[in-house]
Symmetry: C2
Subunit: 359 residues, 2 copies
Amino acid sequence: MSTIEDEGDDAGPTDHGLTPGRAATINDIARIAGVSKKTVSRVINQSPFVKADTREKVEAVIAELGFSPDPQARGLAFRRSFLIGMIYDNPSPNYVVNMQQGILDAVRGSGLELVVHPCDRTSDDFMANVRGFAVRQKLFGAVLPPSVSEDERVTGMLTEVGCPYVRIASVSLDAPERMVVTNDSRGAAEAARHLVGLGHKRIAMITGPDLFRSTHERGEGFRSGLAEAGITLEDAMVVRGAYTFDSGVAAARELLSRKTRPTAIFAGNDEMAIGVYQAARDAGLDVPFDLSIVGFDDAPMSSRIWPTLTTVKLPIRDMGRMAAEKLLARSRGLDPAKLEQPEVIPTLIARDSSAPPRR
Amino acid sequence: MSTIEDEGDDAGPTDHGLTPGRAATINDIARIAGVSKKTVSRVINQSPFVKADTREKVEAVIAELGFSPDPQARGLAFRRSFLIGMIYDNPSPNYVVNMQQGILDAVRGSGLELVVHPCDRTSDDFMANVRGFAVRQKLFGAVLPPSVSEDERVTGMLTEVGCPYVRIASVSLDAPERMVVTNDSRGAAEAARHLVGLGHKRIAMITGPDLFRSTHERGEGFRSGLAEAGITLEDAMVVRGAYTFDSGVAAARELLSRKTRPTAIFAGNDEMAIGVYQAARDAGLDVPFDLSIVGFDDAPMSSRIWPTLTTVKLPIRDMGRMAAEKLLARSRGLDPAKLEQPEVIPTLIARDSSAPPRR
DNA sequence: CTGAAAGCGCTTACAG
DNA sequence: CTGAAAGCGCTTACAG
């Protein structure tokens, strides 16, 4: 089966004198293929300056021995690792896991691995912590979901230490090759149109925390969606939440205690929307007939709860994949700006939590 | 401020002639501290064979320069990386994220990082994939949650390639230093006692898939808990699910269509328990008065849904932390078997989905 | 198109 | 207790 001349002197035809326990190295490949290690290195790194049959010969030996270059040694010489860091403070398990999956979708087969780095932006050593991580690991690149992606201190520091990054955010904050933009504003406008279309007029909103850019985008989009139908979102109909279940409950209680209560509530994310269900129940209101609820995210729970939650879906896994692809494209010399549609459009998923208001 | 003699000749007192952009290396520390790099290496690796004041001198320079040894170079020389791999096929985002958090709790400050490696045990290249990952990255260690932890092919292969691992499983499958055992059986027995205590007699169970060891442990524990009260779980009252929402719905439909339907259902996990809510609603049954439901896991959703779900809580984050600590203990020369309580005991959390049956 | 030398930043023997 | 030499498995200049 082997077409390569066996240089071993103490072993069978497919054993090239390698120590059995140890993995093959570039030196083994060079020796067996009868070339220098530099040439093997050229093949590994897809250098165009290798004669076709030299390349084939080397590739055959690589395949036969199942050789795979040591990322640590390669990284040491390259002054760069083969690790992608996902640096995040998003508290939603669903968001985190889906984004991880998306990043892994993109790097599969590339030899890159994903290192997860949750962090706390409010912590005193936040910047030192993230900087230490990026520098020590000499990250191949970093994927930054919100709200870390919105922190200019982080991106400035990463640039300073020479760590490539891609930001995921609801508004363009950077050059296209470093951005995956989700049009949250448009998604929120869809939510507004949906409620208006059902005939709602007294509409309320629970926003996210100020720290998140998406809070403003979703708020602004919702307002403009209502404005298209000539409906103004009153100040008394807007309560700030914190993207958590409990804050959703509290905000909804407040809204439902207003003298003229809303017939529909748009929550900045699903977690808070689920909280609205509880407040509605406590107030003796039937969802959707007394109160329509619309969320944002399409978390798994939205289709499990009853009535199922109308929401705006963000393709989180795709977003993770697109971000990692931009990181990869750079190293492949492609133009990362032209990889895929420049903007991720959320889609409204109408379920059972929204209906026309009672007359 | 610096008490170290400045050997630079072209810079100020705190600049030791280092290139500004580049991070300090072991050579810089050695030069500035006036010792050999080998001595610096001894300090880094906490060798006892260093004179106290030599150590202090070196540590002062390390601190002053904020030096942190390059994990790639160290790894290359050690023939081992500083990466912990979490290799898993658990589909629950909550489980995954909590376990990641637990592992990170344990490794914080140790210089280790967490590389996530989801996989598919049913895939043809599963073993090759996991092997390649462990070998290529020369993992410091692997954390294996169920059901990967229950695959002897995986643990055999990891042993063969010299990759330390810790398994997390509902039954002891390995030496104590390689195991975090969760007593799922006992947790399920608690669930049984809870339902018996409420007065239930016609009790049903939805099990997990055969592939998971926890399916058997939870099943067996539940049976034995009922047996204590002289209640036998009838065959017709047991339906197999798949740990998914949909399988929970389907299994509950089947159970609720029996001629004498159960007054209580214990589901092998929360995801399926939530499915039972839907089947109950479709059948026009009130939870908990027509039907009590008990789950397993304490997923976030269990306290959000209405009525809130009675369930058995597993401290997933602690389990991840304990597993990573065992990995760390080995390298610190401690006895990993004696780290913490040998067994994780799940606890019943009684909420609103369980009540005495209607007379 | 190919290779010999030096180096990435550490550690392991081996001396003393 | 400390250090000079060699090496981990790759790549970058530099030659040819």
